[in-house]
């Protein structure tokens, strides 16, 4: 009913009253007594109630009322067959729920990782020196960055920054905090405003004026009790005083996991520097400039710089990558494969549903024919089916939405903060309106689709034949073909999905084993960082750690203690160093040997149980005064000394003309993967701590019992030595290893769940269709038995039919599955590998299920008394 009609009807009462009053008045004017006059007027008007009803009927929409009827009928139908409804809804819930949950993940992490203004026009810009292959630092020279802004013509603004860690001192406690030094335009480029206070101004970019700081929201909350009065006060960062000028909004942390920002104050000579790629750069593109245009403009401009400054910029190129894409370079394929799996599960759910509705339709053939015979129009019947299917789809959609809320909450709470702080957008994971809408729309489409399919099918049904048919016993040839097609497609779908899920799960399992080469059990880890002011000399650093190590090793129950500059599973890549091998001709610039470099103390290898393959380990006598030594990893030997004995060979860091001393290789250790995203263990060069001490080191302490119980004693030792040293990241290595592959585990678990759902859905589906199609032939089998058919032959016939359909499905699916797994393998490099065994295993499984699905109902059919089978009209 529209607004116009409603208003007219609202006024109708008054209108009728006026009408009767007028008529009465006229009658009175004619000399009739008032009572009589009113009576006559009323009589002439007719039945007031009916008039109103008729007027209302003009406006009422008939189809809407019929719709209500249809919905009520559909509800009754669904209620009457709870098994069908239950299975159908559950199937869809699985399909839609999986999609909603995964899309929530993808939506938050890939589509909205950062809460920045116009994210798509933000790019990371960096330079490549041509000799950095495999070394992905993404840095830029400050002077080059400034030139790109003024000269490349594609950027509205370029801002530079660099990570910096601080020791934050509050009330006698010192804590290392990761921060970032940023140029004044940083927040403007990102389009973010501080929640409290102000951002930086250009004058603060000069050395001497840069002692101001912006605090991250969670740091502010945890360390400063959310005190707004902190604005304007000074805090101590690495023994320098900084005035707090602002607090950043809650979710802001760029670059992750930075928690405070200071101005990037470069001296004029640093600003003009081109030789050192010392900063990172982030740029906002001019309106209408695409990333492709930017890349082209950058490489053209880099060439001009090359010509202008051949000394520093020779061989240097520049690249831009969308900020959105940069972060998830490694994980995008994982997310996408997850999403693909979710879509496949939905497909499978739909295929199952198609079979279910089809089976039900056959059961209802008579009812439909009866309705049609009694005069139900095609359209009315169609609406009935659409109502039914849409109703349960919507039901499923709502249930799925509810479930996805729960799943997402579970997902968010099940991963530790230690890990998720590295994931921009993680806090934004939620079932948002878009996701919900998609779930509901998906449900609606599925429902409408099945509704229409049912109608098309029912429309073809022959009325008379259907009414005469005594039951589902006699199937028409067309229907038999359709059913066969369903079996075939079900088998094909199932195989493709199972193979893909299987391969991915296998890949994830392998990935979660990446750290198999080390033994993190019973190892305590503590990060120490020495204040740079008091430890400016290498000997000071070495002395501190020597004393510390001796005291820690003396603790009762401690087996071994070691230090490492960057231990495996730290989620931080090692620094890469170029080196020169003694006696080899100097290679081309982009073939300079390189290796990941790590500094460790002698007990590092035994603490992590990394086996020594040749030579000797470091000892405490490998000091400054002794010849420089190094231990190399097996993969480094394989790459640079494949056919030689590496122990005893000499190398030096830098190019052939570098002045650094020659280093003798004294040992070879087994390979250890640094981080899960490295496709393989990278060649690693280990240096003895006493020959290259560093202020920040991680303690790895192996003990006989619970390693965390030593945390307090270690802290005591450190504070006794120097109360200005910051301790951080106290925990077990076991936990860190687990956390570091957190996302892999979650992906693996999700994939596993999908795999199970897929397996269940496809097996139930294949079984359902096949057993149904055999059960339909009970009548025929009965006749054959009655006519004296050999049960064995009969069984062979039925099984052969099932087998034939399954094999057709497999023949279709195997090449598809093969191609898809090749695609998967190339998309998730290093995770998935094509495995024909899995293909064979799942094919076998499906054949088995098919045979069982055919065998059981066939045996039942043969067991039935022929007379009963014949009579089951």
């Amino acid at each position: 009913m529209n607004r116009r009609g409603k208003r007219l009807l609202d006024d109708l009462d008054q209108e009728i009253r006026d009408h009767i009053e007028l008529a009465t008045q006229e009658n009175i004017d004619r000399g009739i007594s008032p009572d009589e006059a009113r009576y006559l007027a009323l009589r002439k008007f007719g039945n007031v109630v009916r008039v109103k009803e008729d007027a209302r009927a003009v406006w009422r929409v008939v189809w809407a009322e019929q719709l209500v009827q249809d919905i009520r009928f559909a509800l009754r139908q669904l209620y009457k067959s709870p098994t069908f409804t239950g299975i159908a809804v559950l199937t869809l819930v699985l399909g839609i729920g999986a999609n909603t949950a995964v899309f929530s993940l993808v939506n938050a992490l890939l589509l909205h990782p950062y809460d920045f203004k116009n994210l798509d026009s933000l790019v990371r810009v960096w330079e490549n020196r041509g000799i950095d292959e495999g070394y992905d630092a993404r840095n830029i020279a400050p002077a080059d960055a400034a030139d790109f802004l003024s000269g490349a013509g594609v950027f509205e603004e370029v801002t530079t920054y660099r990570d910096q860690s601080f020791n934050l001192a509050t009330e006698g406690d010192v804590e290392p905090v990761l921060g970032c030094a940023v140029s004044a335009s940083f927040l403007d480029v990102l389009g973010v405003r501080p929640a409290l206070g102000r951002g930086f101004v250009t004058s603060e970019e000069q050395p001497g004026f840069d002692q101001v700081v912006l605090l991250g929201y969670s740091l502010w909350r945890q360390r400063f009790a959310s005190d707004p009065a902190i604005l304007g006060k000074t805090i101590k960062l690495s023994e320098r005083s900084y005035t707090v000028v602002g607090i950043m909004p809650p979710k802001f942390s760029y670059p992750v996991p930075a928690q405070l920002w200071i101005p990037l104050a470069l001296a004029p000579e640093q600003k003009a520097d081109r030789s050192d790629l010392s900063v990172m750069a982030l740029a906002r593109l001019k309106a209408g400039v695409s990333v492709a245009q930017t890349t082209a403009a950058l490489s053209a401009y880099a060439q001009r710089l090359e010509q202008a400054y051949p000394k520093t910029n020779a061989g240097r190129s520049a690249t831009a990558l969308q900020l959105r894409k940069e972060l998830y370079l490694y994980t995008v394929p994982l997310f996408l494969s997850l999403q693909a799996a979710a879509v496949f599960v939905l497909f499978l759910a739909c295929a199952n549903l198609a079979n279910l509705t089809f089976a039900r339709l056959i059961g209802r053939q008579k009812e439909i024919a009866m309705r049609a015979a009694l005069g139900a129009g095609q359209r009315r019947l169609a609406r009935l089916f659409i109502c039914e299917t849409t109703l349960f789809s919507l039901l499923a959609g709502i249930a799925a939405a509810a479930i996805s809320f729960w799943t997402v909450r579970l997902l968010r709470s099940s991963i530790s903060q230690d890990w998720t702080k590295w994931v921009p957008g993680w806090d934004g994971i939620q079932v948002d309106r878009t996701v919900l809408a998609i779930a509901i729309i998906m449900a609606l489409f599925v429902g409408l689709g099945f509704g229409f399919a049912t109608i098309v099918h029912a429309g073809r049904a022959n009325l008379t034949a259907a009414l005469k048919e005594s039951g589902p016993g006699s199937l028409s040839r067309a229907k038999g073909r359709l059913r066969s097609a369903l079996v075939v497609s079900q088998v094909a779908f199932a195989l493709v999905l199972l193979v893909c899920a299987g391969l991915t799960i296998q890949g994830f399992l392998r990935l979660s084993n990446v750290y198999a080469a080390l033994d993190p059990f019973n190892v305590l880890r503590i990060e120490l960082s020495l204040p740079e002011k008091t430890y400016s000399q290498q000997t000071q650093i070495a002395n501190f750690y020597q004393q510390y190590l001796h005291s820690a090793a003396a603790l009762a129950g401690v087996t071994q203690v070691a230090l490492s500059s960057n231990h495996p599973a730290s989620n931080v890549d090692n620094e890469t160093a170029f080196f020169t091998i003694e006696g080899r001709p100097s290679p081309k610039i982009n073939e300079t040997p390189s290796a990941a470099i790590q500094t460790v103390t002698p007990d590092f290898f035994p603490v992590l149980r990394i086996p020594l393959l040749a030579g000797r380990r470091f000892t405490e006598s490998d000091t400054f005064t002794q010849p420089q030594v190094a231990i190399v990893s097996r993969s480094m030997v394989e790459r640079y000394w494949p056919a030689e004995i590496a122990v005893g060979k000499r190398i030096k860091l830098g190019k052939s003309d570098s002045a650094s001393p020659w280093i003798t290789i004294i040992g070879i250790v087994a390979d250890v993967r640094q981080n899960w995203w490295n496709p393989a263990a990278s060649p690693t060069l280990y240096r003895p701590f006493l020959q290259s001490p560093q202020p920040s080191m991680t303690t790895l302490l192996r003990s006989g019992a619970d390693p965390t119980s030593y945390a307090a004693s270690v802290r005591e030792i450190v504070l006794k030595l120097d109360s200005g040293v910051a301790l951080r990241g106290v925990g077990t290595l076991q936990k860190e290893v687990t956390d570091s592959i957190g996302i892999i585990r979650i992906m693996g678990i999700l994939m596993g769940v999908f795999g199970m759902v897929a397996l269940a859905l496809s097996l139930v589906g294949v079984y359902g269709v096949l057993s149904e199609s055999v059960a339909q032939r009970t009548h025929e089998i009965g006749i054959r038995v009655a006519l004296g058919a050999n049960p064995c032959d009969l069984m062979r016939l039925v099984l052969a039919h099932a087998l034939r359909l399954t094999l057709i499905g497999l023949v279709i699916a195997v090449p598809v599955a093969f191609v898809l797994s090749r695609l998967l393998a190339s998309a998730i490099h290093g995770v998935v590998t094509v495995d024909l065994a899995i293909l064979a295993e799942f094919s076998f499984l499906l054949v088995l299920v098919a045979l069982v699905a055919a065998f059981l109902p066939a045996r039942r059919a043969m067991g039935v008394d022929p007379m009963v089978a014949l009579r089951c009209e």
């Binding site: 116009r4 009609g5 007219l8 009807l9 006024d11 109708l12 209108e15 009728i16 006026d18 009408h19 007028l22 008529a23 002439k44 008007f45 007719g46 039945n47 007031v48 009916r50 008039v51 008729d54 007027a55 009927a57 003009v58 406006w59």
Partner: protein, 117 residues
């Protein structure tokens, strides 16, 4: 008084709409006026239950043939006035034409001889 003595005719289905349209051709009118006009112009032969006028009016509004607006009646009362729309005017001529043909056809069937002679 005299109305009761006269022979009254039931209205044919669908003709009420035509009569309303025709009446409104003379100008906008409120419900009671339309009822009276139809009665008066048919020499009070047609027996229209005045109430049935209203669902008819609603039907015509829904089709867009007439529109309703607030106005003041002859005795200064607020009342709903109905007005023929351009679309309604067109429809009236179509309907009238149709009616003429129908009436002519029926007449020819009922009195074939008279017609021919």
């Amino acid at each position: 008084m005299s109305t009761e003595e006269k022979e009254r005719l039931e209205l044919l289905q669908g003709t009420l709409d035509l009569l309303i349209l025709r009446t409104l051709l003379l100008g906008p009118a409120h419900g009671h006026a339309i009822a009276k006009a139809i009665e008066f112009r048919s020499d009070e032969v047609l027996q229209v239950e005045q109430g049935s006028l209203y669902p008819g009016l609603h039907r015509l509004i829904k089709r867009g043939w007439i529109s309703a607006e607030e106005g003041t009646s002859e005795n200064n009362r607020r009342a709903k006035f109905y007005r023929l729309t351009a679309k309604g005017r067109k429809q009236l001529s179509v309907e009238t034409n149709k009616w003429d043909r129908l009436a002519g056809a029926i007449a020819r069937i009922l009195r074939p001889t008279e017609e021919r002679e």
